[in-house]
């Protein structure tokens, strides 16, 4: 009996288990700072993309304020650490709470609108947030930026030792621990009754309402969870990079995260991760060259949206379905 339950567990969670194993062992093979940096950035953007996927892919709401929340999370963490001397862990929790609180008000306002109006409205919020960060110099240092944000505070260990975050490896494990936690949480939510409400709102709001689903509450719930993780990824970014400027809350950030989700495939768990990882790697590798990165992204987007709507994961599912059909014949 226990054997079957265990093997069941393994088969259902195989992808995640493999992912965790790979993630855990990579630092033994990679030592170059450059590659470790790329991986850490992959992790951070992975969290951001996975959270956007929740509100956009699973709940079907075109929320374009995501970059703003990334920025709010980043600046909150940075400011709490720099100006109030609060340690990283507490600052991170507080930053996420602040992000959710602001998200609550923005969400309430934004969800009074639908469709295109909602998309534009959230985009406007994004711009407003960036402008505020840029101009409220007293708080955020404006365009000068926040410098010298410390790395995460060391965690005390028994026997007088501690885990400190001065090495790339330590930061790598930190970021990826959060990434895996994020994925597990989102997956749990998506596969639950709450997740079903999200799918219902995505599918047909009127029908969802007639089935007793409070669509406003559901949208807000999805939005706030999504915003929480956006703030989390921002906080991790702030402490790792150590430097912030208003640009990180810009709508360009929103669109980059959007591209990660689209190329990987909205509405799947693996999609945003695949998109975030592959594009971060590509863009960091091409950093030196005078490569019009966004032009390429632009063409990629148009081609995907016209010909390969589900992104990479969508293509994978189609392929799998076709193979399955062929096998049955």
């Amino acid at each position: 009996m226990r054997q079957t339950k265990f093997s069941n567990f393994i088969s259902r969670n195989l992808a995640y288990i493999i992912f965790i194993i790979v993630v855990a062992t990579i630092p033994f093979f990679v030592s170059s700072r450059f590659y470790m940096h790329i991986l850490i950035m992959c992790g951070i953007w992975g969290i951001a993309a996975a959270s956007m996927n929740l509100i956009m892919g699973y709940t079907g709401q075109v929320n374009l304020a995501h970059g703003a929340f990334f920025g709010i999370g980043a600046y909150s963490t940075g400011l709490l650490m720099l100006k109030l001397g609060i340690n990283f862990w507490l600052a991170l929790i507080m930053a996420c709470s602040i992000t959710v609180a602001i998200g609550f008000f923005i969400g309430l306002l934004a969800f009074r609108t639908k469709g295109s109006y909602y998309a534009i409205g959230t985009m406007c919020f994004n711009v407003i947030v960036t402008v505020i960060i840029e101009n409220w110099e007293g708080l955020t240092e404006g365009v000068r930026g926040l410098l010298g944000i410390p790395r995460p505070t060391p965690i005390p260990f028994p026997f007088g030792k501690e885990i400190n975050f001065t090495t790339m490896t330590a930061n790598y494990y930190l970021v990826f621990s959060f990434l895996i936690l994020t994925l597990l949480i989102i997956r749990r939510i998506v596969n639950s009754m709450i997740g079903r409400s999200f799918l219902a709102v995505r599918g047909n709001e009127e029908l969802a309402e007639s089935l007793g689903i409070n669509t406003l509450f559901t949208k807000l719930q999805s939005f706030l969870i999504s915003v929480f993780f956006a703030g989390l990824s921002g906080g991790l970014y702030a402490s790792y990079i150590g430097f912030l400027s208003p640009e990180i809350s810009d709508y360009h950030v929103t669109f980059e995260i959007l591209i990660y989700c689209l190329i990987g495939g909205l509405g799947t768990m693996a999609g945003p991760i695949i998109g975030a990882f592959s594009l971060t790697v590509i863009s960091e590798l091409l950093h030196g060259m005078a490569f019009p990165r966004l032009v390429a992204y632009g063409f990629l987007l148009i081609i995907i949206v016209i010909f390969l709507r589900g992104g990479i994961m969508g293509g994978v599912h189609l392929l799998a379905a076709n193979l399955f059909l062929k096998a049955r014949k």
Binding site: N135, P292, G298, I306
Partner: protein
């Protein structure tokens, strides 16, 4: 207040400042109206907003600049040629990008538009560089009227805009093509049944809308200069306008454009230029919260 019986120096200056701001607002409003008009026309046909409108606006500015400086064309000729070229580009964009996505959810058209924006804006960045381009000195003559300084360019902007608005109205109301545009905007299937070629209408509307944007860009460039990101603020404001005025409403776009231009100019002059974008968006958000379909909005 700004008016006193005795015209002493301080009030004179305040009055002059006020009128200056109002004129500036009308000028800005002209540009915004033209851009919003193109956007609202396209929305009437597409039923989703053309998010790439700002990128095409920027392309119009760069092309005009290129023709005027590299090719040495006269300003007006450059503007005309650029407008024609942009109209053609607009038609291509509609045909290759938006038309395949007609039956899909609006999200896909939106994403494709983002792709277009990346291509145009980043392309401009790489071809021309990030610096602000100046137009060759033209129309910088200034007039002194009642203690105010007005440059010729501003007068040109306002005049050309009014002319274009009148021409557009005549075109839509008095010509057959205009009638087909209105018919298709109101009821696509009905128009199809009447034998109207909806595809041709889409083409014409996009040529029109993009052409208007190009002219607007060419008009404002001598004052506000040309740079890759110039489409961003303008397009966001155009959205504010058509949402306030109602997506698809022509009077809404015109009135909304001038209102926004005035609000921005006056708040910029009397409060702070930094926050004026926040102000505009704040107005938008407030209106949407009260009337989620805009001031004149139908649905």
């Amino acid at each position: 207040m700004l008016y006193t019986k005795n015209f002493n120096g301080k009030d004179d200056a305040e009055m002059a400042l006020f009128i200056q701001q109002v004129l500036n607002g009308i000028m800005l409003g002209s540009i915004y109206s033209l851009v919003a008009l193109g956007l609202t026309l396209e929305y009437g046909i597409l039923h989703i907003p053309n998010f790439a409108h700002g990128a095409l606006y920027m392309a119009g500015a760069y092309l005009t600049f290129l023709l005027a400086t590299q090719m040495g064309f006269n300003y007006w000729l450059a503007m005309m040629l650029a407008m024609i070229a942009l109209a053609a580009i607009g038609v291509l964009v509609e045909r290759l990008v938006y038309r395949p996505l007609i039956k899909e959810s609006p999200l896909n058209s939106f994403i494709a538009a983002i792709g277009l924006i990346f291509i145009f804006v980043d392309g401009a960045l790489h071809i021309f560089g990030p610096d602000f381009k100046r137009f060759p000195p033209v129309h910088y003559e200034a007039f002194q009227v009642m203690g105010l300084t007005i440059t010729l360019q501003r007068i040109i902007i306002i005049t050309v805009t009014i002319l274009l608005i009148i021409l557009l109205q005549l075109f839509i109301k008095k010509t057959t093509i205009g009638a087909t545009i209105e018919a298709t905007a109101q009821d696509r299937e009905g128009a199809l049944l009447m034998g109207i070629s909806v595809n041709r209408v889409r083409m014409i509307v996009f040529a029109l809308g993009t052409g208007l944007a190009s002219i607007a860009a060419a008009l404002i460039s001598p004052i506000h200069l040309v740079y890759p990101g110039m489409g961003g603020p303008v397009i966001l404001k155009a959205f504010v306008i058509i949402i306030l005025g109602g997506m698809g409403s022509i009077p809404g776009a015109i009135i909304g454009g001038f209102i926004l231009g005035l609000v921005e100019s006056l708040s910029g002059g009397y409060i702070s230029t930094a926050y004026n974008e926040v102000f505009s968006f704040g107005v938008l958000v407030t209106v949407l919260a009260i009337r989620p379909t805009g001031l004149f909005g139908a649905k």
